[in-house]
Subunit: 302 residues, 2 copies
């Protein structure tokens, strides 16, 4: 079943110790869509400027991603520029040029309000709420956010949080949102704010799932090398949601497929840092993905 | 079956944001022995000064630990003093007073050379080798080390590494020892230096086991709070080795019990940071330990 994602479609300039890549395809919706499309059809709602390359739209379309919800406006595409430290984890943001994204008001193409799966990627919580309210009875809604909105738009974030089924954040965001040091306590505090299911991502250390069945800890695939970790979290979200959509899971389902979805998320996310931008997600072979899911399952077997 | 541990028996002065504790029982052998004694009899070889409190020896003895290999010399007990940062992970060493430990030459009480399990805790690799060479055909030898010896005594460390069955290190030590960024590559490089089994500890993120059966990732118990993480790595080693000794595992055994031992290590280690010094390991209830092993197993079940 189809997934609708609303988020950024952007250009990233990424500097690492070894190499710099200028204005490559990025943005939360791009990473998410390429990952999720390995499992289920994906529809993207976003905005790009008149500088956006047709070849990048074609790339998404070639993966079965419906790009008709990506509005093209006069102006520049959202551009993020950052430099990674030697550890390939810490990074400095060099520039954030919002461009046409500054006035983004998500518009759903006719009929898209009936899409059963909704991923509210990391945009202003008021826009997330606007999209959520325009949907017609989705089966499952997953929310992502970031420290910026936790710090500057907490009230709006709490309003949307109260209406979603799953929150997906990283460990520092979970702590910032709740004030809890312990991640178990942070997850309980988030559940008290609305979503009965919480995913806490920990980068190279894997991810945690908190649901009705208790806690699941999924490791990350051990990579020989990290080329560019940008977008790995959004890629995780894509694998997670893609798995659930493929299985037809809804908010009333038990935890079984959510736990499997964590492994799918970790497996897809493991490809992302192995190349710049979305490169490692292009034409990603399902057999290679299945092999990494099997590796993760073996790593978790006592 | 019995375990012999050679390592430091020390006093630690630990400062945290909340509280400072002066000259509490510490040292790798103390943490290891208290953890391992939950599973198997333990013999300690070490040295203390004339300031060492009888009550601390009594505490170890009360846990079934044979302290007759702890030599008492004129001078001061090894004293480490450190201050933890707010994150309770980073720490600054304020003082390292070796005292009688500076001239430590491990002496085994008569008959101890036949102890089947040997844990070479974190002391100079030449002393580790001296103890190893004095043993009579141990069933299993596990080695711990630290960045200091990797940097200053690499040749001696490599000599002892070539003769042991398992190396137990943390992630930064594994990288420093091998020059590999990826932990899988680091483990392979360590295996090429001797030990066919490698454990890489990652603190709050759990631990990895690399053996003939492939890789196992064991999470850490999610704690609400960290009071004092000092000794958690040695406590992990104690649970790991204790489990193996209890099961009578030797170097020719398959990986099954080694994988279970990882869970035992993680479970015991989870108690350590919940109180200062060895406090949380005193009279540690086996039922509470079993409960944490069950929690970890559940966290690993997809």
């Amino acid at each position: 079943m189809s997934i609708l994602v609303v988020g950024s479609v952007a250009y990233d300039t990424v500097a690492t110790v070894r190499e710099t890549r200028d204005r490559q395809l990025g943005g939360s919706a791009s990473f998410f869509a390429l990952a999720a499309s390995r499992f289920a059809p994906v529809r993207v709602v976003g905005v790009v400027g008149d500088d956006f390359r047709q070849e990048d739209l074609d790339l998404l379309a070639r993966h079965g991603i419906d790009t008709s919800g990506i509005e093209r406006c006069a102006g520049a595409t959202f551009h993020w520029s950052g430099r990674y430290h030697h550890d390939m984890i810490e990074r400095d943001t060099l520039a954030t040029d919002l461009g046409v994204f500054a006035d983004f008001s998500p518009q759903l193409p006719a009929g898209w309000e009936h899409t059963p799966y909704l991923l509210l990627a990391n945009i202003h919580p008021s826009l997330q709420l606007q999209v959520l309210d325009s949907m017609h009875d989705p089966k499952l809604v997953v929310l992502d956010t970031m420290n910026l909105w936790i710090e500057t738009s907490r009230a709006e974030l709490l309003a949307v949080l109260a209406k979603v089924d799953v929150l997906l954040v990283n460990d520092s965001e979970a702590r910032l949102l709740t004030g809890c040091t312990g991640l178990n306590e942070a997850a309980l505090a988030i559940q008290a704010l609305g979503p009965p299911r919480v995913v806490i991502k920990k980068g190279e250390h894997g991810a945690l799932y908190f649901g009705s069945s208790g806690t699941l800890a999924v490791p990350a695939i051990l990579l020989p090398d990290v080329v560019d970790p940008t977008g790995a979290g959004d890629t995780f979200a894509g694998g997670f949601m893609g798995w659930l959509a493929d299985r037809g899971v809804d908010r009333h389902s038990d935890d079984v497929e959510f736990r499997r979805a964590m492994i799918a998320g970790s497996a897809v996310a493991s490809f992302c840092p192995q190349a710049f931008s979305v490169e490692a997600l292009i034409d990603l072979d399902r057999a290679a993905l299945d092999a990494r899911m099997a590796t993760l399952t073996a790593m978790m077997t006592p």
